[in-house]
Amino acid sequence: MAPALKDDKGGKWSSDLVLDLYSNLLAEIWELVSALIGEAILAFLFNLAIRKLGEKHPFLNSLKVSEDGISLDGVREDCRTVAPVEIHRGFQSLINHLSHLFSALAEGVINKELFPKVFPKVKEAERIISQK
């Protein structure tokens, strides 16, 4: 596995940068979708997606999701040795899978609200990764 890279300017690990970005993004998804389907169902869907992807992206298993929200504390700890690109891929898969679940449940109703906000941020994460 490739080592975590260091950001040139702020001296911050770029893994942390990617994590910060996805942390904000997940918080935004949580806020938006929980208003539509409620915290209990959303937490259930998050955990379903994590179970599905946890084998391929083990760090996702440290993501704690309950009706109170999402905690990335465990992920930050586990991601010290994970390459930023891996973190990006893991979260990207998570968001893709959630989006798949949302459309299985409500066709375009959730994704129509979600896409305009999520898509630019995933692109931004890709840009950060490609710069390294």
Binding site: I37, G38, I41, F44, L48, L105, A106, V109, E113
Partner: protein
């Protein structure tokens, strides 16, 4: 703004109706009655995993092909959410048709599913089933519909969870934990009901008191764990030997009791004798050994024995059992007052 208030009021009364329901069918009916005031839909479905029940509440002009499509789609979505395939053939479907639309908007007989919203019924991370709103119109639902449906789903899931908990408490209250037979408390209750039927309708009723012969010897020789297994084995033989309408209960220790509704003396004797022979001819594995167990049984009957109460009927069956024991065991004995009627095993 006025529309939102109106919708919130409808939502409130829907939630109230769901939360005060006492069975799943009532939940679906409460929801179904109120939902047309909130959404335009062709069909509303509730799937409950535990009992594999799927209720469809739908517009009366809804063609069967549309209902089938809805069922198929709900099962597909549930399989994704429940991470397991659901066998459609095992699902019990209940359809309730109601007039949800004016005549001029009746559904086309060839209507197909064009849009839907499906949400899991989930409590504490556990999935209990799902609910679904379905329409033959494209883009029939929006974000507000989803919000309302999720609130309804949340209340429905909470109510279903209560049912689940209540049903497990009820199970503890009526079943014997070792044998899985009804317990004595349930027996008393059931006997009360059947006795009423006799007193008010004249329907005959028999009781068969059963005791395993020399059970103490099994416990002393092989230990209590093996003894418990013998009780389970006999229970299973009893359960499979009676009619569907009969009640088999553990009366206490190695004693069992059967309530045979609508059975006269002759029929109950045939049933008891069949059980006696079955047990006699079924070798029972106890530890490393094989033993042949036998049963003694006593029968009492309404109206033959002129018992004046259920308690008296039980006493008569007990007396007959005592006579069977005294007469050498491995016998079925019919209550006959002071002098018992013997039956000799053949």
């Amino acid at each position: 703004m006025r529309l939102i208030f109106k919708n919130l009021n409808v939502l409130r009364s829907t939630i109230n109706a769901i939360s005060t329901s006492i069975e799943i069918k009532e939940i679906v009916e409460s929801a179904g009655t109120n939902l047309p005031n909130l959404f335009d839909f062709s069909s509303f479905g509730v799937f409950w995993k535990e009992d594999l029940l799927l209720f469809l509440y739908q517009e009366e002009s809804c063609p069967p092909s549309f209902a089938q499509e809805v069922v198929k789609n709900m099962i597909k979505v549930f399989s994704i959410l429940g991470e397991e395939a659901v066998d459609a053939d095992r699902i019990a479907l209940q359809v309730e048709k109601r007039k949800l639309r004016p005549r001029q908007m009746m559904m086309d007989p060839k209507a197909t599913l064009k849009s839907y919203l499906t949400l899991p019924l989930t409590v504490e991370g556990e999935i209990l089933g799902c609910i679904s709103l379905n329409s033959d119109q494209p883009n029939a639902f929006d974000a507000q519909d989803l919000q309302f449906l999720s609130v309804i789903g949340y209340q429905m899931a909470a109510t279903l969870k209560h049912f689940q908990r209540f049903s497990s408490i009820k199970n503890i209250a009526i079943y014997d934990t070792l044998t899985g037979l009804y317990n004595r408390r349930y027996f008393e209750e059931r006997l009360g009901v059947e006795t009423q039927k006799y007193f008010y309708g004249g329907t005959p009723l028999s009781l068969v008191m059963v005791d395993i012969d020399h059970f103490k010897k099994v416990n002393d020789t092989f230990g209590h764990t093996e003894g418990d297994q013998v009780l389970c084995k006999i229970s299973s033989l009893l359960k499979t030997s009676v009619r569907k309408k009969d009640t088999v209960a553990r009366y206490g220790g190695e004693e069992f009791i059967l309530i045979l509704p609508e059975a006269g003396l002759e029929e109950s004797f045939v049933i008891a004798e069949r059980i006696r022979r079955l047990v006699e001819n079924t070798p029972c594995e106890v530890g490393q050994a094989q033993v042949n167990l036998t049963l003694s049984m006593g029968i009492s009957n309404f109206p033959s024995h002129r018992a004046k109460s259920k308690e008296e009927l039980v006493k008569m069956a007990d007396q007959a059992l005592y006579d069977a024991k005294r007469g050498g065991r491995n016998k079925v004995c019919i209550f006959a007052g002071k002098s018992a009627q013997w039956t000799v095993p053949t």
